[in-house]
Symmetry: C2
Subunit: 144 residues, 2 copies
DNA sequence: TTGCTATTGATATATTGTTTCAATAAGGAG
DNA sequence: CTCCTTATTGAAACAATATATCAATAGCAA
């Protein structure tokens, strides 16, 4: 998992100790297909017999966010979600059930951005385009 | 405040009783300039000497959301925020410095949504388009 | 006014997030 | 490899937000 190695090296090279908590949280993030909440990570680790305090998980996530290695998001209820930083700006297709997120390519909103800059006086430097829905696998699950 | 009357009539015409809790929560929403959290409403009412249980506030908000009279959002930490429905779905121009948000009109991404449904198998039910930038006033402030 | 029942507030509980602090372990020095 | 410093940790207490339950209440139709 070269992604994982890259992250831990980033931590080291910024002078941070490579501790158990950091290693484990980073590993879970690398293994996850999409967004995870702090308590998702906590439970995943617990299930693997690894105990990392909730506070530490938040601390690691905060640190990884500061280093731009992880992105923090929130959508729907249930607090903030995290995942490995992706290249480029955010164009996502997010499953509102399981949190899986797929990126997609260009979106064609740049002309609109230009118009908005002119009409609003804002200096736009970023945009998100995000679709929410049910992924194929969640569509087939039984509703409880 | 005709907005307020419209909301209460909507409730009545859907067969819901016009109760104290519904009236008060609706009124606060009508008076507010922007987004409010459930506890913001709770405290606003308390300050006016009106007691409405937290549970009821959530119930009223849920109901108003179902009737599409209120929109639920979340940005930043601190849970969900609510405000009266605006026309159209969420297309915002957000100042990354001061948080001011301006809505803007239609965005033309629906064709893209269709394409994505076909190529991904997702069942899309919502989207966000959000631009981030510096609003005119923040452009003139000194950087710290 | 009365009676039915949708609706409520209180309460308990769950979930998410932050703070504090003594104990621990990472990793450089020797 | 061992010691030492101190960055980092986990536990626990706390705070804020959200939901479930249930007996009591208040809307509203008749």
């Amino acid at each position: 998992m070269q992604q994982y190695t890259k992250l831990t090296e980033q931590l080291r090279s910024h002078g941070y100790r490579l501790t158990g908590a950091r290693v484990q949280v980073t590993r879970i993030l690398c293994e996850a297909p999409g967004y995870l909440g702090a308590y998702d990570i906590y439970n995943a680790l617990k299930q693997q017999g690894i105990n990392v305090g909730v506070a530490s998980i938040y601390r690691v996530l905060e640190l990884l966010c500061q280093l731009n290695l992880v992105q923090r998001e929130e959508f729907g209820s249930g607090g903030e979600k995290f995942r490995l930083s992706q290249k480029g700006h955010t164009h996502q297709l997010v499953c509102s059930e399981c949190g899986v997120a797929k990126e997609f390519g260009n979106c064609g909103v740049n002309p609109l951005a230009k118009d908005l800059e002119n009409s609003s006086g804002f200096k736009i430097h970023e945009h998100w385009l995000r679709f929410f829905g049910l992924c194929p696998s969640c569509q087939h699950k039984q509703p409880l």
